[in-house]
């Protein structure tokens, strides 16, 4: 194992003159507004549902030192990390004088970018009065980048980046405003949906230019020095805000563990996740050294996202993001760790384990902030619905894509939400049934909540989903999914675990669904597939749940009468009334018997 690397500390302070409160506040509001406007523009003009529905992109302003000036909020939470390294690398390649106005750089190379190749980064240098002051950047998920990358990206079996798709390493697709036709042709000829992806590239560039125009207006109005001073002050103040939150937690070392069933290649061999969080005087160190070493399967990455998403969620979930949001956080991930993998380790499913990592960090801190930490959520990137093929009538390729959410954990004061995307996804929307059917030759038979998929607790978890799809033409299913059957969404403070997700398939002529997995699985017309997502863990002892709420859950058919009796000790009659005497008796019997949930003090 190589020497642990640490996130770089803040740069040397620029000389900051006193800023008046109004100017500072105005600039504080304006910077995120620029990134958000870039995001809105991209989303409305993009060509693929990964951008307009899954919002699998981010827009950002980054200074030449790689520090994050501002970023949009809304899309995929795990994009909150790993942007600055691209600029640091670009500056190294080209030098500070190597950029000129009109340059557009395209990159997705995993040695630095550290994510699946579908995430293509476009950035443009921003000059004000001839001085390079920042970069406008858009990272966005292209629907295809060649190789086996179609749809949500390639699966864990993809052995290396060449298999996965086209690698672009800090190349100028435009230089001084002139298109590099050769590079453009290479890209166009090596991806499956060039209209879509090159359309998206155009949208990414337009968003960067828009960011540039907005920054011009700001610089014109307030002047270079004021803006730069304000940015530095905003960083410092944001850092202080986060420190203030962490300072309220008891100092100490908090640990938790989880696991993924396997890496998708070496079946049955779990991928361990272990986190160690040290809280000391307002500072926090998240050490992921205890997680698996890099694997020979595409679930590696180079990312600080796991730590950053958790930290952000706990310190200031509703505040805009900037470099200051993470200055009081140290992240330790050794080289060669599954989340600090070395090129050419495969990264096609780079984000698969990140939601579980985030949740494990959150769980580790349950004891430190018991009033704010929910039980475990489904912990996966959602139930991916991916079916693709060629329509026999139109001879056009189609891809069905949707992400189905799962259950979230019970909370210290209320139940968890059902059917919602993971902690690494924010404003990510499923495909509407009608929209899917309008565009693709399938029928969605049902999208339904799964009764009893929730963990039991004083506050129960949310429910998972079953999405059933039948295909009207032959095609291929991608049934690749990280699984957590051995480490289901955990309960907290004696709540029980939620159920886990799966893929099920029923071929024509078969009468029952069976569990399945695999990539590019060909199916004939008339097959039925179920994409199943897990439920959330329960919070607190189920025997303490208000019997009225248990009754209501039975009435709503969210839990069965059996679950009411066996898990909650509540006897609900056929007329949905509570048998008070039987309930009291049952609960008395159960008191003191062991519940299986994880509490805040221990890992599993």
């Amino acid at each position: 194992m190589s020497k642990p690397i640490k996130k770089p500390k803040g740069k040397a302070k620029r000389s900051v003159k006193a800023l008046d409160a109004v100017t500072l506040e105005v600039i504080r509001n304006a910077l995120p507004a620029v990134a958000n406007e870039m995001a809105a523009d991209l989303q409305r003009t993009s060509y693929n549902m990964m951008i307009y529905e899954v919002r699998d992109f981010c827009t950002a302003l980054i200074d030449p030192n790689g520090e994050l000036i501002s970023q949009n909020v809304g899309g995929v939470s795990h994009f909150v990390a790993d942007l600055g390294v691209l600029i640091v690398d670009g500056m190294k390649r080209y030098g500070a004088k190597g950029f000129k106005p009109g340059d557009v750089i395209i990159t997705n190379h995993q040695a630095v970018a550290g994510q699946h190749l579908n995430n293509v980064v476009i950035y443009m240098p921003y000059f004000y009065k001839g001085e390079l002051l920042m970069f406008n950047m858009v990272r966005a998920h292209w629907i295809d980048i060649g190789g086996t990358s179609t749809g949500f990206g390639a699966g864990p079996q993809v052995a290396d980046p060449w298999f996965e798709g086209l690698q672009l390493d800090q190349l100028k697709i435009y230089e001084g405003g002139i298109l590099n036709e050769t590079l453009y042709r290479v890209i166009k000829d090596n991806i499956r949906f060039p209209e879509s992806s090159l359309g998206d590239m155009k949208s990414q560039m337009a968003a960067c230019r828009l960011g540039g125009r907005r920054m011009d207006e700001l610089f014109d109005k307030y002047g270079r020095d004021t803006i730069l001073a304000a940015i530095e002050q905003i960083f410092r103040e944001t850092e202080q805000k986060c420190r203030n939150v962490v300072a309220k937690l008891p100092d100490g070392v908090y640990e938790a563990s989880a696991s993924i069933d396997d890496d998708g290649v070496r079946k049955g061999e779990p991928v361990p996740i272990h986190v160690k969080v040290t809280v000391k005087g307002g500072g926090m160190t998240i050490d992921l050294s205890g997680c698996s070493l890099e694997r020979k399967a595409g679930i590696n990455s180079r990312t600080l996202a796991g730590a950053r998403v958790a930290y952000k969620a706990l310190t200031g979930p509703l505040d805009p993001v900037n470099e200051g949001s993470f200055r009081a956080l140290d992240v330790i991930i050794p080289e060669g760790n599954i989340m600090m993998a070395r090129f050419p380790a495969p990264m096609a499913g780079w984000s698969a384990i990140v939601p579980t990592v985030v949740d494990t960090i959150v769980a580790a801190l349950a004891k430190a902030m018991p009033g704010k930490v929910p039980a475990g959520h489904h912990g996966l990137l959602g139930g991916a619905v991916v079916f693709f093929g060629m329509h026999p009538k139109t001879n056009k390729r189609f891809v069905v894509q949707s992400l189905e959410g799962g259950g979230w954990g019970g909370r210290p004061y209320e139940d968890g939400e059902s059917g919602t995307v993971s902690v690494c996804q924010g404003d990510v929307r499923n495909g509407s049934i009608e929209g899917i059917e309008l565009k693709c030759p399938v029928m969605v038979e049902s999208r339904a909540l799964r009764r009893d998929s929730c963990g039991a607790g004083k506050h129960r978890g949310g429910l998972g989903i079953d999405m059933e799809v039948s295909n009207l033409v032959e095609g291929h299913w991608n049934f690749e999914q990280t699984r957590r059957t051995k480490c289901p969404p955990w309960g907290l403070w004696n709540g029980t675990a939620g159920d886990t997700g799966a893929y099920l398939l029923k071929l024509p002529g078969e009468s029952v669904f069976r569990e399945t997995s695999g990539a590019r699985l060909p199916v004939p017309v008339g097959a039925h597939a179920i994409v199943r997502t897990g439920g959330g863990g329960g919070w607190g002892n189920p025997l303490e749940r208000d019997p009225e709420r248990v009754r209501s859950d039975v009435r709503e058919d969210l839990i069965s009468r059996e679950a009411a009796r066996d898990l909650y000790g509540v006897v609900v009659g056929s007329d949905f009334s509570i048998d008070r005497a039987a309930t009291a008796e049952l609960r008395k019997q159960r008191q003191g018997t062991d519940q299986s949930g994880r509490n805040g003090e221990r890992g599993s």
Binding site: E37, Y47, G199, G405, S432, G435, L438
Partner: protein, 679 residues
């Protein structure tokens, strides 16, 4: 002719009437009585001195629809859906807009799961029947809903926007089985694809239907009892009005009927002054709202989320596009834990209100800051009816803001106002710059009690050269209702490549929609039809509404339509792809029944403007007050000129002119202000 508009807001019920023959306005204001809204209206008419029997037309806007939804005080509602989609309403789109919030909340369905029933039926995306409607499962659902005693039923079947036959059949069965329940069929409310949004919109309609529909019915009946024999119209979110009959069927259309009045008024005032491009800016006690009017037409949005995008209920009925920010007169200034000065979104509201109101408020607000800066006269607030406590406001700002930040109370007050101005400017930017419009090409029309107070600062911030303060700025919504036309919006999802579009079929759809639209139209003689096609590049999700003519559809002129799309796209997003294939998603039809235009009286010239007194007012320099003359608006005749710095007071608001601003009174009564360019 006597036309009267009554706008029920949260606090006040406003009445404005206009007597066409006498060329006279009538105004009245009374406190809103939520428990007796109908009586409140009748009382307000009585207060105005108008005889109900003399009123020819009465236009009414009310918050009852939105309040019924927000306060969750609607009917016990059942929902009938396609087999397999029972949970579509609860699952929604599965998203979490607050990306880092572990304790986020999703929308809360209005119908519980046990009142949601699946019926075996299925229509395919193209409209073909895949499984015929199973009457047995429908019957069972009706029986269960009847046993539960629901007051309203919503029906939403998959793809009913293209083939509504099954919904119609279900509707007949439900009407037969539950004759007294309120029924909403999704295709009658919204013929657009996306089942969750359509279900939500239909459920909202059913949920508020019995109460709001009952209210409209009762209003109509009770007005009859007062001798009123004129036409009653109800204001709707699209900026038009509808008959009480339509309102009873589609109460969801009157959700935002209040705020849009002011936007219609802005459009009309602008047009009358030869200014077709205006931005309406309305600032009240808790929020500020901005909306863009181009070529005399307000901008439309396809729908919105009641209660906010993160956890609100989607209501996809066309409404005037409004951007709202949490900055109003009552917005509270505070210092966060790192010492940054913030304004809003918390508001002191009307109760306890700003410190200066002496109603128990302890937190400094934007209104307090204006009092401290001398821009609001403590002795002449609401025409002197309410005395403001300037000393308390100064003291509050000093203690809570100025001292902790180490500044003077004046400087702190100025900072509070400026941060508020900045927030409001972002709203104005959002309706203009972000849609590809340069605010410098627009005139800002200010309304609301706090609008004229801040509008010139906002104009400066955005380099807007001209500002209008209209007549009745604090009753502007009611004024807009007086001027609104009848309007119905229809939409049909019709998905096809533009190049291979069956225009004949489209013209047939257009005819169907137009027929339906004209049937319920009161002002059918003076009707105007506007057609839009929602078009996008193949592969995109978001479409642009492109205005087209019926002649273009009849001629199958896809080239002209294509060109219009590319141009609109280029304008909005600064790039376009004329070589790429485009597809059509929806056809939209707006039918506008023009109401007769009212001719307001001209203002008399009364000579040179004379100030009633002077005040010390702080503008840009917190160290030095300027001496500003104070004018009574009522005393300003046509052609009068006022140069800033100056204050122009009227009953509900004060217009603050900054040094260098020049105000001229139009013959029709508006204050037209040339903004001094920022230096």
């Amino acid at each position: 002719m006597i036309v009267v508009a009554i706008d029920i807001g949260g606090t006040f019920t406003d009445l404005i009437g206009f007597d066409d023959r006498a060329k006279r306005f009538v105004e009245a204001k009374s406190l809103t009585t939520p428990a007796h809204l109908v009586q409140g209206i009748i009382d307000c008419i009585r207060k105005s001195g108008l005889a109900a029997s003399a009123i020819d037309e009465l236009i009414h806007g009310s918050t009852i629809a939105i309040n019924t939804l927000i306060e969750r005080k609607g009917a016990k509602t059942g929902l009938i859906v396609t087999k397999g989609t029972r949970d579509v309403y609860a699952i929604g789109r599965g998203n979490r807009p607050e990306a880092y919030n572990l304790l986020f909340h999703r929308h809360r369905p209005l119908v519980p799961r046990h009142l949601t029933f699946e019926v075996d039926e299925r229509i395919q995306a193209g409209g073909a029947v895949h499984r015929v409607l199973d009457h047995a499962s429908l019957k069972a659902a009706c029986a269960a809903l009847k046993a539960e005693g629901v007051e309203a039923v919503a029906v939403c079947f998959l793809h009913s926007y293209v083939n509504p036959d099954h919904e119609r059949l279900a509707g007949e069965a439900i009407r037969a089985a539950l004759p007294d329940t309120y029924l909403s069929l999704s295709h009658e409310i919204l013929r657009e694809y996306r089942e969750f949004e359509r279900t939500s919109t239909t459920a909202v309609n059913a949920y508020i239907g019995p109460k709001v529909g009952g209210y409209v019915k009762s209003l109509n009946a009770n007005l009859g009892g007062t001798g009123f024999r004129g036409d009653l119209s109800i204001m709707r979110s699209n900026g038009g009005v509808m008959t009480p009959e339509v309102a009873q069927e589609r109460p969801v259309a009157m959700m935002e009927s209040g705020p849009v009045g002011g936007i219609i008024a802005s459009a009309r005032v602008g047009q009358a002054l030869g200014l077709p491009n205006v931005i309406s800016f309305d600032m009240g006690g808790t929020t500020a709202k901005a909306s863009l009017v181009r070529d005399g037409e307000p901008t439309m949005a396809p729908g919105y989320y009641v209660g906010g995008y993160a956890s609100g209920d989607p209501v996809m009925v066309p409404m005037i596009d409004v951007v709202e920010v949490g900055a109003g007169g009552g917005s509270i200034a505070w210092i966060d834990d790192i010492g940054a000065l913030k304004v809003g979104p918390q508001s002191a509201g009307a109760d306890p209100g700003p410190i200066a109101y002496r109603g128990g408020g302890t937190e400094p607000t934007i209104t307090d800051a204006n009092v401290v800066l001398g821009r609001l006269d403590p002795d002449n607030f609401l025409g002197g009816q309410m005395k403001l406590d300037a000393a308390a406001a100064t003291d509050g700002i000093k203690k809570k803001i100025a001292d902790p930040l180490g500044m003077t109370a004046i400087a702190a007050a100025q900072a509070i106002v400026e941060i508020g101005i900045n927030k409001m400017s972002l709203a104005v930017r959002e309706v203009s710059v972000e849609k590809g419009y340069d605010p410098r090409d627009f005139t800002l029309v200010a309304s609301g009690g706090a609008g004229p107070l801040h509008v010139l600062a906002i104009a400066r911030e955005l380099h807007i050269p001209q500002v209008i303060v209209p007549l009745f700025p604090s009753h502007f919504s009611a004024l807009g209702m007086l001027l609104a036309d009848e309007r119905h919006d229809f939409i049909r999802t019709s998905y096809a490549d533009l190049a291979s579009l069956d225009f004949e079929q489209l013209v047939t759809v257009h005819e169907e929609m137009a027929k339906e639209a004209m049937a319920g139209l009161r002002h059918a003689k003076n009707a105007e039809l506007q057609v839009h096609l929602d078009i996008r590049y193949v592969g995109q999700e978001f479409a642009l509404s492109v205005p087209v003519t019926l002649a273009q559809l009849k001629k199958a002129d896809h080239r002209a339509i294509r060109l219009a799309f590319d141009r609109l796209y280029e304008h909005r997003y600064a790039h376009s792809s004329p070589d790429e294939a485009v597809e059509m998603v929806n056809i939209r039809l707006a039918v506008v029944g023009k109401r007769p235009r009212l001719k307001f009286p001209a203002l008399k010239a009364t000579g040179k403007a004379k100030p009633v007194r002077t005040r010390k007012v702080y503008f840009d320099d917190p160290r030095k007050a300027s001496v500003a003359p104070v004018y009574k608006r009522a005393s300003l005749g046509a052609g009068a000129k006022v140069a800033g710095p100056a204050l122009i007071e009227e009953h509900g608001t004060t217009t603050v002119l900054f040094p260098g601003d020049i105000c001229k009174v139009a013959a029709s009564g508006e204050l037209i202000i040339a903004v001094k360019a920022a230096t």
